[in-house]
């Protein structure tokens, strides 16, 4: 095949997914503020206007971006200049890298060539995700340390301890999924979830691994430093935590990293536990409901439905972050650690053990 075509496809995939994630990041900043306002009986942002239109404050992300661009880029006196400037990059780069392995649709065939709708279908799939997202802790730690100020330092320490603790249970909680679907590739996991469980339920991760799902979601929130685990920035005791001394675009890089983590995390949860691009009861040819009823659907519509289902699930989990944030209060630090090591870790080990037993004795060769 013509190499130019391959390059074009690769670039297009990267561009599409980038646009999707960054677009969602922008929308999320608005959704977060507006959602928070409505949950708390307020009105939320509604001031920024273009040509007299406010449209419920959708221009606020734009205004924020402009504000970040034009603010003074400030380096505090005692800060270590090099590390201080490196930290936002260390935060943002891993966040961007994580999006590479998430499949956002089934493989499609264009001009006789099968194209995976995924930036890179690595054969270590989910492990790559853990490896890269584990790097995010450096941004936080470096920022906290190099600012030469006590609140960021405490924030950085807290968050490094928290992220390492929860990484363990996060990794262990998906182990069950890997065992059930016999693969670490996200594309194969998504593919495997298209089957039916006992002919009724779609074989989604939540249904075969309910405990794993709860553990993973919790660990994900802790990894993304979201409420109820947002102690690293706990504004009531640490002012703003690790990014306290940052202003201007550097600060916005931390914010962007946080939101990209959220968006990619949502995409990963929907891929691992909610079938990714699988639409319930939709096979390649059309709907096949339990009970033998089937409805034929044209191939293009199938593709659109599937990508739409992935986008829909991702959006739901993005909203869930906001929803949970304005519902659950922040934990105390010792509670976070106790939950991580004394509850989540044993439970995820138990989950692996039980999954192994079930696979071995009840259902040989997968459910």
């Amino acid at each position: 095949m013509n190499p130019l075509f391959d390059i074009a496809v690769a670039v297009a995939r990267v561009a599409v997914f980038f646009a999707f994630v960054f677009g969602l990041v922008v929308v999320m900043t608005w959704v977060e503020r507006k959602g928070a306002a409505y949950i708390q009986d307020r009105r939320g942002p509604n001031r920024a206007r273009i040509l007299g239109l406010t449209l419920g404050g959708v221009f606020h992300p734009l205004a924020d971006a402009l504000k970040f661009l034009f603010k003074e880029d400030f380096i505090p006196d005692g800060a270590h200049r090099l590390f201080y400037q490196l930290a936002p990059m260390f935060a943002l780069a891993p966040a961007i890298m994580t999006m590479a392995v998430v499949p956002f649709g089934p493989p499609v065939t264009i001009a006789g060539k099968t194209i995976a709708l995924q930036i890179a279908d690595l054969n270590v799939g989910i492990l790559y995700l853990f490896a890269v997202s584990g790097m995010a802790v450096y941004g936080v730690v470096l920022a906290g340390w190099s600012s030469n100020s006590k609140y960021p330092l405490l924030g950085g320490l807290r968050s490094s301890a928290q992220m390492i603790s929860y990484e363990v249970s996060m990794g262990l909680s998906v182990m069950g999924i890997l065992m059930v679907f016999q693969s670490v590739r996200l594309s194969e996991i998504a593919l495997g979830q298209g089957e039916l469980l006992y002919g009724i339920l779609p074989k989604w991760g939540v249904f075969v691994q309910p405990l794993g799902f709860v553990l993973f979601l919790t660990a994900l929130y802790a990894e993304a430093n979201r409420t109820p685990f947002d102690l690293p920035e706990g504004e009531s005791e640490l002012v703003a935590g690790y990014h306290l001394e940052y202003a201007s675009f550097k600060f916005s890089m931390f914010m962007m990293a946080e939101y990209i983590h959220m968006v990619v995390g949502a995409a990963v949860v929907s891929t691992l536990f909610f079938g990714g691009w699988q639409f319930p009861y939709l096979a390649d040819k059309g709907f096949a409901f339990p009970g033998g009823i089937s409805v034929a659907v044209p191939a293009a519509a199938v593709l659109i439905l599937r990508i739409g289902s992935f986008v829909g699930k991702t959006l739901f989990f993005c909203w869930l972050y906001v929803w949970v944030r304005w519902t659950v209060p922040r934990f105390r630090y010792d509670q976070v650690m106790r939950l991580g090591w004394k509850v989540m870790l044993p439970l995820s080990l138990l989950n692996i053990f039980v999954t192994g037993l079930v696979l071995l004795f009840i259902d040989k060769g997968g459910f």
Binding site: G35, Y38, I39, D41, R42, R43, W323, V324, W326, T327
Partner: protein, 161 residues
Amino acid sequence: MTIGVKKVARPEQMSFGESLYLLEIMKGLAVTMGHFLHNIAHNKEIPTIEYPEVRRTMPARFRGCHRLMKRPDGSPRCVACYMCATACPAKCITIVAGESPDPAVEKYPVRFDIDMLRCVFCGQCVEACPCDAIRMDTGWHTPPEDTREKLIYMIDKLLEK
């Protein structure tokens, strides 16, 4: 949504369902979603006041920024008696008296500064004034400024309002 007081039982021991947290978190999510949907559906009922355009009506006795009253001819009504400066617990009024050109009036304030950064808005100056020359009925909070000097209100500014 109306705000009511609700008695919540706080037992010492959590029940098993509560100690699992998840169920309780679900309940919490239901509550917040209820508020969210209600506020979307009844947008008009959100109690927020759109501040600069819409203002809360100030109560009649609200103590805002000061103003100095004028006589019908436009000169300040203040007779520079120092009563307000004496009464002020924050010692933020500075008055320099001068002889008034009007033979009917003895003194008038050449300088009359109020340091709004120190003022505690207690209203003692208004109470103390024998000729109702100073009032705090503008209904304004002190507007923000970028230097300290601008927040020391001089006589012109006080007469203006």
